[in-house]
């Protein structure tokens, strides 16, 4: 594989990761926290209504996990594509 093709593949894989992670980002915040909040509020766990919980706490936890997942995925991709910095 030429350098150029390798780069292309790396970039495409990167965009695929972005699409998946940003879809989750959108679903937990705008989806669960805003669009479907009333429906989810019918479900309760502990003292929380689920939609309210996503809007005020849950989405934040998911955001943190998303970034660390992205870091892990990209570090792996850098290595397998031989594009890491070392």
């Amino acid at each position: 594989m030429t350098m150029k093709e390798q780069h292309k593949q790396y970039w495409r894989q990167n965009l695929r990761y972005l699409a998946i992670l940003l879809a989750i980002w959108f679903i937990v915040s705008f989806g669960f926290g805003i669009i479907w909040v009333d429906e989810l509020n019918q479900i309760k766990f502990g003292g929380f209504k689920l939609g309210f919980w996503f809007a005020q706490q849950g989405s934040i936890y998911v955001f943190v996990v998303l970034i660390f997942t992205y870091v892990w995925l990209m570090n792996r991709l850098d290595k397998t594509s031989d594009l890491d910095e070392n």
């Binding site: 780069h7 790396y10 970039w11 990167n14 972005l18 992670l21 940003l22 980002w25 915040s29 705008f30 926290g33 805003i34 669009i35 909040v37 009333d38 509020n41 766990f45 502990g46 003292g47 929380f48 209504k49 309210f52 919980w53 809007a55 005020q56 706490q57 989405s59 934040i60 936890y61 955001f63 943190v64 998303l66 970034i67 660390f68 992205y70 870091v71 990209m74 570090n75 850098d78 594009l83 890491d84 910095e85």
Partner: protein, 564 residues
């Protein structure tokens, strides 16, 4: 010891620490001044970014706002954290690979145009000044309350301090000061929250106490109790809110994109050694921010419950001491309309007898929970740390925009490093003076527009940077037109619907039912549409620019880019 003495000791010690760090880490070159030498550890950068990011608004006002807004307060929680996902995935690693000093640097080079650079400088200055004026005012207010000095004296003390470590140390001084400020502010925020959580629900972790059962033996969940209290008094239900879904979504999106587009946050990612450090430090930053941001809604619910159960239908003669303390500052006002000696706190303004400033909820928390005096002093130090760290970060953006992007890049390219460093210091000094002036003479519009700094950043920077990385075909004509139209549209909407000039307008006149706070989303979309359409009529960027865009997409080689 009384509160006053404790405040002098704790605030004094924290200031001594900041000044000590400033002297230890003073900058000797422009590279140290602009990007702290470029060798900051990602964890250190995460801590500094968190402090840089969390302002007086996050520390003092946010929990109070949520406390009165209930569910609708989620716009701040999701908006101000969700932006970090955009920042980490769409901006930080690429800007780090690009590896220069400032946001206008990137825009000027990527769009091969000094006009684009200048427009970016102007946008950076507008965004940063709207934001910093509010911070200086915040510093003054905290001093006024806790050291019992006039607000202006408070602003002067804050100016002196920021002057010292921003002018002397530049980014290097600011970075290490911010690490200390993060530790102080998070400790100060968590201590009262943990105590109140234990008192109210028996859970030590506020995040759990938030969804826990009340400690009073009734077996009722805190949030259910709060919903009931709200309904009884005629407020909207706490957990469902009152804004339209559409507007809630627009505000959240504008705050997210604004967060990702704020120059003082973006520049922090220029300070780490490698691309992968930029990615992980965004993760650390959000983790440290999340500690405060998941505690804030818990504090909001605790404070709201405490407030209502303490004052509602209670005789005024038996209110606790914190109530009368805050009455002196006029942040709590009671007017016995029906002369029955009881406090009627209800939604109906004709019957309601109690007015409460939202900002007191966090500041008064330790007193409400009857915590020892040193905790109250700690909260004062925390509020100051939050305001000062953000003010310093913003001032640095303003000063580097002037010294680097205007003087070095455009007016006098043959300037020596030493001279440029001097200009950077002069820039920082002038910026402190201007910010201080606005802190002392706050123009009426400051309070109204601080939140809109995000809309401005979303409308101007976010699209132009993302397109610069992800769309090779985007040219200078499209980018400049997009930025100009985006920021002008946002300014127009702000001036018309928030400040009431240009004929003003009420909620019914809002475009698409979107409030000024959420309009950044619309202006961003318009920016995108304009950029794409204009770009089609002009040639693609030159080959070397396309090669540069290609290059920043791959992490290898960031070392070279850094030492230019």
């Amino acid at each position: 010891m009384d509160i006053q003495t404790w405040t002098f000791i704790i605030v004094g010690l924290s200031f001594a620490l900041y000044i000590g760090i400033a002297i230890w880490s003073r900058a000797g070159s422009t590279k140290e001044f602009y990007v702290a030498g470029g060798g900051v550890h990602p964890l250190t950068n995460g801590l500094a970014t968190a402090a840089d990011w969390m302002s007086a608004a996050s520390f003092i006002s946010m929990a109070g706002l949520i406390s009165f807004m209930g569910y609708d307060g989620g716009v701040y929680l999701m908006g101000w954290t969700g932006g970090y996902v955009l920042l980490a995935l769409l901006l930080a690693p690429y800007l780090r690979k690009f590896g220069k000093f400032t946001v206008p640097d990137f825009i000027g080079d990527r769009y091969y145009s000094d006009i684009a650079r200048t427009v970016a400088v102007i946008c950076a200055i507008i965004v940063s000044f709207t934001y910093v004026a509010g911070q200086m005012r915040g510093v003054g207010v905290v001093f006024a309350r806790f050291l019992e000095v006039p607000i202006n004296t408070g602003v002067f003390i804050g100016m002196g301090l920021v002057f010292f470590y921003a002018v002397l140390g530049g980014m290097k001084g600011i970075t290490y000061t911010q690490v200390a400020q993060y530790c102080i502010l998070i400790f100060a925020f968590m201590v009262p929250a943990i105590f109140i959580s234990i008192q109210l629900t028996g859970e030590w972790l506020p995040q759990l106490g938030f969804g826990g059962k009340l400690n009073d033996g009734s077996g009722v969940y805190l949030l259910d109790k709060l919903d009931n209290l709200h309904e009884e008094l005629g407020f909207h239900e706490y957990t469902t809110g009152s804004k339209s879904r559409w507007d809630v979504g627009a505000i959240t999106l504008a705050l997210m994109m604004g967060t990702a587009g704020l120059p003082h946050v973006i520049v922090r990612f220029f300070t780490v050694p490698k691309v992968k450090d930029a990615r992980i430090s965004a993760g650390w930053a959000l983790l440290f921010i999340a500690i405060l941001y998941t505690t804030a809604p818990a504090i909001a619910a605790f404070a709201r419950t405490n407030l209502i159960t303490t004052v509602s239908e209670q005789p005024y003669s038996s209110v606790p001491e914190w109530f009368t303390n805050w009455e002196e500052t006029e942040l709590i006002q009671f007017e016995d309309k029906n002369n029955d000696g009881l406090i009627q706190y209800v939604a109906d303004p004709a019957v309601n007898e109690l007015t409460i400033d939202r900002d007191i909820m966090v500041l008064a928390n330790p007193e409400i929970a009857r915590l020892p005096n040193w905790v109250i002093a700690l909260v004062a130090a925390g509020g100051l740390a939050a305001a000062l760290s953000t003010a310093a970060g913003l001032l640095l953006v303003i000063s580097t925009s002037v010294s680097h992007d205007l003087i070095k890049k455009q007016i006098k390219p043959d300037i020596s490093d030493k001279e440029e460093l001097m200009w950077a210091r002069i820039g920082a000094a002038v910026a402190v003076l201007v910010a201080g002036y606005f802190g002392i003479n706050p123009p009426g519009f400051v309070a109204a527009t601080v939140a809109l700094a995000f809309g401005l950043a979303a409308a101007s920077f976010f699209p132009v940077i993302v397109l610069g990385i992800f769309d090779k075909r985007m040219n200078k004509e499209g980018a400049v037109a997009g930025m100009v139209v985006g920021i002008l549209l946002m300014l127009f909407y702000m001036v018309k619907y928030k400040l009431g000039y240009l004929g003003g307008g009420t909620q019914e006149d809002w475009w698409f039912g979107i409030s000024p706070e959420g309009f950044g989303s619309v202006a961003m979309v318009v920016n995108l549409i304009v950029s794409f359409s204009i770009a089609r009529f002009y040639p693609a960027p030159p080959q070397e620019v396309q090669d540069m865009v290609e290059d920043i997409r791959y992490p290898r080689g960031s070392g070279e880019a850094q030492s230019h």
